[in-house]
Amino acid sequence: MLADIELSQTDPVDELSRIFWGILTPDLSQTEDLIATIATTLCFALVAICLSAIVGLAISPFHHLWWVNGICTFVRSIHELFWALIFLQIFGLSSLTGVLAIALPYAGTFARVYRDILDQGSVDFNQAFCGRVSGVSKWLYGGVAQCWPALTRYTRYRFECGLRSATVLGFIGLPTIGYYLETAFSQGLYHQAGGLLLLFYGVIATIKYWLKAMLIPVYLVLAILYLPWKLSIEWQYIWRFISEDIVPSPLRSTLIDWQEWHSWWVDVAQQVFNGGWATLMLSFAALLLSAVLTLILWPLASKAICRRGYMVGHGLLIVLRSTPELIIAFMVMLVIGPSMLPAIIALALHNSAIIAYLLARTADQLPLRHDKSSGLNLWAYELQPRIYPSFIAFLCYRFEIILRESAMLGILGVTTLGFYIDSAFEAMFFDVAMMLILASALLNMIVSYCASRLNRSRQLFG
């Protein structure tokens, strides 16, 4: 095992008991602008998801073109937080920054997943058309209409992801719930942090009761009206960003100092190799653990297997997937000390809860025979084998997310690519940040290419 998984002796009891006591006795009276904060979080997520779903759907027919695929992979391999930092340079702290930071990578994801969903739909519809039918009509009435339930189900799930992303944007200062959560948490105000977390779980758990298809246009209009759109696009900042900030610093002056140019590259290359290696180690380990945890977790939230008890599993999954990884990693680190291990555990818990939720939903929609077995047998001999393809597909989707989420865990002293990107942004070295982002996008593309090749050969031989 090459990964860095050292354990160290700690005495975490005091701090952990403070955290749990805080969550048990939540207190939101000290939080200012609570309602506005929740409203902003919801609005960011809603506007961004609508925008990205439309764009993603429009792109999906062209997703097989290598360059469309490349652009999509590129935009989604950059963490929302880094997109936000980039847009911050251009649009400042405005609503546009928040919305675009979520919408752009999400559009890339939508394009890919919509395409996969449409491809999985029946192909017979092409024969159902007679006469001259345009490609657009075929796609719309044959493909989209047929897969509509799957498409909306996925979009609804992404809305939940959008809420999480909007929350995370608070970490850099956009006024979402994460803004206060991060403050409360890092300052050890666990009563407030606990209150905010419980509130967030509540919002996520009740989505299905208030997010009705008919109401979405109304919500959307309200959201757009609510967000402050002080649109002041200043072209000089955009131009400065392109022509100055992201140009490697030794090239900015007219007299190029080759010595400096050389050392700039050495520095960047070192970060790319160190970071790339650590990122791969961490991501593969987290993926493996996610797979194992998913197998254990999904049956807990399945109606077919746990019957009434599924609500408990469902609640557990909401808690696991809605708690920011940073907080899980912090708590694990208190117990076992800093290394890659808390990062692996945090990423695995978070992602397995998401995959488990999706799998349980898939499993509960499968038609079952009347003489089906129950409990453990139903799980092991019928449902698990039947949903195995989805299981692998979801794991592959989440892998690229694990890859970029590893950026958030610099607190553990694990120097992933994301750690270096974050450092470069913090030091305002956008030239270095851009190079590292390109490197991580490339890594992501290589991994997803290998995954799709692997998938194809598995289909051929299996």
């Binding site: 002796q9 407030q192 002293g413």
Partner: protein
């Protein structure tokens, strides 16, 4: 044609017309980041009275976001840390440091260690802290990163990741204390004011975590203003803002920073910080 002219005029109005007369500032205090709006809203009110212009406070959380807002003229005045101020003035020509906290003239950091390491308070940074695990605060912090890293390099002649077996960034002074106190990290470094404040409020157990070395002093937080404000708010505006800050004596307002009062400062006061930032490639 008419349409595009109309569009350009509208865009121009949106860009330059909006809030042309609002003076905006931001502040990231080194401790207690709660209720920023309420606390600094009062400071905005005070400045508004003193300056006779509309003053607004924008909450920003990260140092880089604050610098960006200052650079893009979204805020004209900012309460920066030593390093972020140097960076901001580097990016915005003609911007000046006008005032610093009284405490900021001789700021310092504490190196702290978990009791299991056995390190004791010493006049010099103990050489045997090498090979333990070590956490800084936030990556862009002066007291939690820049100056401690400088002193470490001076003492060991090596970058931190070569000195220690593991180096982390807790992201926040309070979190550094919590992490070293729990033993998750063996050694850490914090802003002295945050340590004193947490000690007073009983969050620190001295049987578990202790100060092992106090750094030499260095200048830290300061108010920095953009040079071009006088074009918008009139002649002598920088002087008026400086006066308003230096004469601020309401303890309730000063508590937000928290500083006992503000004293004059210049860009040159931060030359030492600038040299250090250049030396360890953070500028």
């Amino acid at each position: 044609m008419m349409k595009s002219i109309f569009f350009i005029v509208c865009a121009w109005l949106l860009v330059f017309g909006a809030n042309a007369t609002t003076f905006t500032f931001t502040a990231i205090p080194d401790q207690d980041e709660t209720q920023l709006n309420t606390r600094f809203g009062k400071v905005a009110e005070y400045l508004s009275q003193q300056l006779n212009v509309d003053v607004r406070y924008v909450p920003v959380k990260s140092y880089s976001a604050a610098i960006t807002a200052f650079r893009n003229n979204q805020v004209q005045l900012a309460w920066f840390g030593g390093l972020s101020g140097v960076k901001a003035r580097h990016l915005v020509p003609n911007s000046v440091a006008i005032a610093q906290g009284y405490e900021d003239q001789f700021f310092k950091s504490y190196f702290i260690a978990h009791h299991s390491t056995g390190f004791k308070l010493a006049g010099q940074l103990p050489l045997n802290i090498a090979d333990s695990s070590f956490t800084f605060g936030s990556k862009g912090s002066t007291s939690g990163r820049l100056m401690p890293e400088y002193f470490l390099r001076q003492r060991f002649n090596q970058p931190p990741n070569k000195i220690f077996n593991r180096v982390g960034f807790s992201g926040d002074h309070s979190r550094t204390i919590a992490l070293v106190q729990s033993g998750a990290w063996q050694v850490g470094v914090v802003n002295y004011a945050v340590w004193e404040q947490e000690l007073a409020s009983g969050k620190i157990d001295l049987n578990k975590v202790n100060v092992i070395w106090t750094t030499p002093t260095y200048p830290d937080y300061q108010w920095t203003i953009r040079g071009d404000v006088e074009q918008r708010f009139g002649k002598r505006f920088i002087e008026r803002v400086t006066d308003a800050l230096l004469t601020m004596d309401d303890p309730d307002l000063l508590k937000s920073f928290p500083r006992q009062k503000f004293v004059p400062a210049t860009n040159a006061d931060y030359d030492s910080v600038k040299q250090v930032a250049k030396a360890i490639k953070l500028l």
